[in-house]
Amino acid sequence: MELNKFIDELFKRGKEEGFSDMEVYYIDSDSFEVNIYNQEVDKYNVNKNKGLSLRAIYEGRIGYAYTEKFDEEDIEFLIKNAKNNALETQTDVIPEFYSGGQYRELEMDINVDIDTKKKIEDAMYMERRAKEYDSRIDSVNYCLIDTGKGRRKIVNTRGLNLEEESGVSVAYIAVVAKDKDDVKSGSSFKVTSNYNNIDFEKLVKEACDEAINSLGAESIPSGKYKVILRRDAAATLLATFSSIFSGDAVQKGFSLLKGKIGKKIASDKITILDDPFLKDAPSSCFFDDEGVETYTKEVIKDGVLKTYLYDIKSAKKDGVKSTGNGFKASYKSPVVVSPTNMYIVKGTLDYEEAIKRQERAIIITSLQGLHSGANPVSGDFSLAAEGYLVENGSITKPVEQITIAGNFYKLLEDVEEVLSDFELALPSGMGSYGSPSIIIKELNVSGK
């Protein structure tokens, strides 16, 4: 069935069934991916996907159902399940759908309609350049280009009818460097709305340098170290702990930030933004998945907590307005609170200069096990890490097989310096995260 007809029919049947309000969330996407291995097309994917979910209010409660099929019988499936599911939910706030607001225009520079041949040639070029880069580059284990286009649509019985187009291109390369028995990996990526922004040469250099520079890495003695958390590692740590700023998490005690609005929770140097209008970021959007207008906000300003992030429901509980942060992981998921593009605002000190000023410190370039070794509820983390040792103002050796451990709430207070080398990291979950490198007074390092 044609989409608009399907929605009309669904709303008509829903009204007959006694729903007070209904909202449809619809996604369709077209994507392409090519993987190159040894100058051949190793994998080639072309995909088309669409899905629709219904949120419907029945007797003051919300029920969810979704489908990937758009036939007459699927309307009945959605209605029946949304109704049964609504009856099983319990709520302390009366649910409400949004009827619309003042939407700001989002300027996006989308360009993903690139000839397939060109994408394959670019990926081959990337692999070839990596193999030529240095004799110690043993193989390229991933080399891929991915482009996708999508449409997101929200229609409800309160008069809302919003639509947004999106486009994203990803280039990724991972290499293996070998020196006798020593094997190290390195990778680099670019995520952008405009394919022409990808600098393949830069990706090759970053991935190869990372692998080569970590050859010969060793563990270091356990102890307390000053830490320069490089921008990408800092961004992944922020992503892991971003849920502590969710109003819903605060209300449920999953965050320790209850009652901390207006209070100092971080070093003066820290300002964190949630910015849905960041250009060239895949998570930018002008309305959230409940149709609420998005806007740029300071979450932390000079160390002081300014706001939590809210969807409609958690906002209602706190008697405030939604901050436009109600998102779904996909059409299969319920709405939860999520940042859009969340990042630490950069400072003025240069990365190279910062290294020169350290007598003894470690630079952490990557963190592993974030889904298990970091706990947003307690703030505790203990994570496998890699990086470099800095002694008397310069890098002396690569470091591996260590863990760094601490507590995120404490880490925010212990930030001594925020550097000037800002970058957005690979999107994580529903949002994107970014950070400049940050210097932390002290973290516990476990090594040999």
């Binding site: 291995y37 051949e40 097309v41 190793d42 994998k43 080639y44 994917n45 072309v46 995909n47 088309k48 899905g51 029920g63 969810y64 159902a65 489908t67 990937e68 699927d74 499936f77 049964n84 599911n85 609504a86 009856l87 099983e88 939910t89 319990q90 302390d92 193989s139 284990n141 293996v176 094997v183 190290k184 990996s185 356990s222 449920k252 005690g253 999953f254 299969k332 319920p334 592993q368 096990g369 889904h371 298990s372 070794g373 509820v377 307690s378 703030g379 505790d380 203990s382 994570l383 496998a384 097989q401 260590i402 863990t403 760094i404 451990a405 601490g406 516990n444 476990s446 090594g447 040999k448």
Partner: protein, 460 residues
């Protein structure tokens, strides 16, 4: 789900441009979830996934396309879209499809769609109140219920036609203990390849209590010390160490291109003599089992390591071509949105002869990891890490005080050689394993083991 003659037509269309093998995978998945936290059932959701993926192989190259449009035209279109990627014209014909016959090894007693959602939600509420009422220090609980009923059909140009129905049920319970300043959590997520009879077979009340007890215990625990020490890892989900540290590196996905530390080591000693490890996708109604894999091959019991010697890998068809070895029934995918590749099913270290008491008693000082959290590995370097959810120090052969915030790191090739004791109490633990073909249900498992030295990362 789709007429045999249409399948045949789609496979022929896919082979028109020089592919030497074509496969179609069709899936319908019915899903129900319920989530409760903060004293309320917050969301109940039902859904239907419906799609097909066409895969074409030409030598070592793989083309994949998927769609939600299961009409004849929709399927022919993706076959054509995919075949455009291959330039030749050879026009190979698909063989006649012959239905694979097998006996279902995983009988389902109560199909989830026959059970009212209210009954499922009442199980969620029961688990919630057991965990919440465990102690005054439990300030928050969240419980998630999931069931899914997945029907798959696989047909390929070699004449294979196979169908499977996989019904899984899982409960995930998280408890938060707090003293006002600090929070600690406890978690369990039992699951089976079962319908609603899951609740007759699995004692959810025990898991709910255990999650709460873990949170409270950790709230009163000291910070874990850092350093290199012997580590005793208990049974069940403790098997995540083998899964992360070695299992991923034994998947053909990383072995075939020579990227794994275990590439080319068949017949060589890669682990200590006490280690035998198995991947078994046939265990009746186990979380990671199925009758056939997602290429339509029956699942198998594969010995990976026997008394320390590397015996086999987990192999899918495409990587099998590169390795010149047969597929082992390990090809899996999250859904029609992914081309299948070699993945673990139920992977475990086989039981040894030591009792858990003997192992603890013979350890003078070290860490006892009672419950493990998740972890990850870099399959190229073998560097792994995982979190310990509940840990204790061992002093003078006895379990001493609890410690929190421990992470274990190491290299897969080394840790296998450092396992010096294996207990007799094998158990499996359930998880979702993420890799290039998506997130699939997998069992990890082991009896209690001791690793003679590991780097423990703590905050002290």
């Amino acid at each position: 789900m789709v007429d045999k003659s249409i399948l045949q037509e789609v496979l022929n269309e896919a082979l028109k441009t020089g592919g030497d093998f074509a496969e179609i995978y069709i899936e319908q998945n019915d899903l129900n979830t319920a989530y409760m936290s903060d004293g309320r059932v917050e969301s109940v959701l039902s859904g239907k996934d419906y799609g097909a993926g066409v895969r074409i192989l030409s030598g070592f190259n793989c083309v994949y396309a998927y769609t939600n449009d299961l009409s004849r035209e929709g399927l022919l279109k993706i076959a054509r879209d995919a075949s455009y990627a291959l330039a030749d014209v050879k026009n190979k014909e698909s063989r006649e499809l012959i239905k694979l016959d097998y006996t279902n090894s995983h009988p389902i007693v109560i199909v989830p769609s026959t059970v009212d959602i209210s009954k499922k939600v009442s199980k969620v509420k029961e688990a919630y109140s057991v965990a919440k009422n465990y102690s005054n220090e439990i300030v928050q609980v969240s419980v998630r219920y999931i069931d899914n009923d997945k029907k798959v059909l696989i047909a390929n140009s070699e004449g294979l036609l196979a169908e499977d129905r996989r019904i899984r049920t899982r409960m995930a319970i998280e408890a938060v203990a707090s003293d006002g300043n600090e929070n600690q959590t406890g978690f369990f997520g039992p699951g089976r390849l079962m319908g609603f009879e899951f609740f007759q077979n699995v004692d959810i009340e025990w898991y709910a209590k255990e999650a709460a007890r873990m949170a409270v215990t950790m709230l009163h625990a000291d910070l874990c010390p850092s350093g290199v020490m012997p580590v005793v890892i208990d049974n069940g989900f403790g098997g995540v160490i083998f899964h992360e540290a070695c299992g991923h590196s034994l998947e053909a996905t990383s072995v075939a291109k020579g990227h794994s530390v275990f590439s080319g080591k068949l017949g060589q000693k890669i682990a200590s003599d006490v280690v035998t490890a198995i991947d078994d996708g046939t265990i009746p109604n186990a979380w990671g089992s199925s009758n056939i894999d997602d290429e339509g091959h029956p699942t198998q019991r594969n010995v990976l390591i026997e008394n320390g010697i590397l015996k086999g890998y987990m192999i899918d068809m495409l990587n099998g071509r590169r390795m010149n070895m047969k597929a082992t029934g390990n090809s899996r995918r999250e859904s029609y949105k992914y081309a299948p590749t070699s993945r673990m099913t139920n992977t475990f270290i086989a039981p040894g002869d030591k009792t858990p008491e003997e192992i603890i008693k013979s350890t003078e000082y070290g860490l006892y990891a009672k419950y493990m959290g998740g972890g990850s590995v870099n399959p190229v370097t073998g560097d792994f890490n995982f979190a310990v959810n509940e840990a204790y120090l061992i002093k003078d052969g006895k379990i001493d005080r609890p410690v929190r915030g421990a992470t274990l790191i190491g290299k897969g090739s080394q840790v296998l050689l450092d396992i010096d004791m294996v207990g007799n109490n094998l158990e499996l633990g359930q998880g979702m394993c993420g890799s290039i073909s998506g997130s699939v249900p997998a069992n990890v498992g082991q009896p209690m083991i001791r690793v003679k030295k590991m780097t423990v990362g703590g905050r002290k």
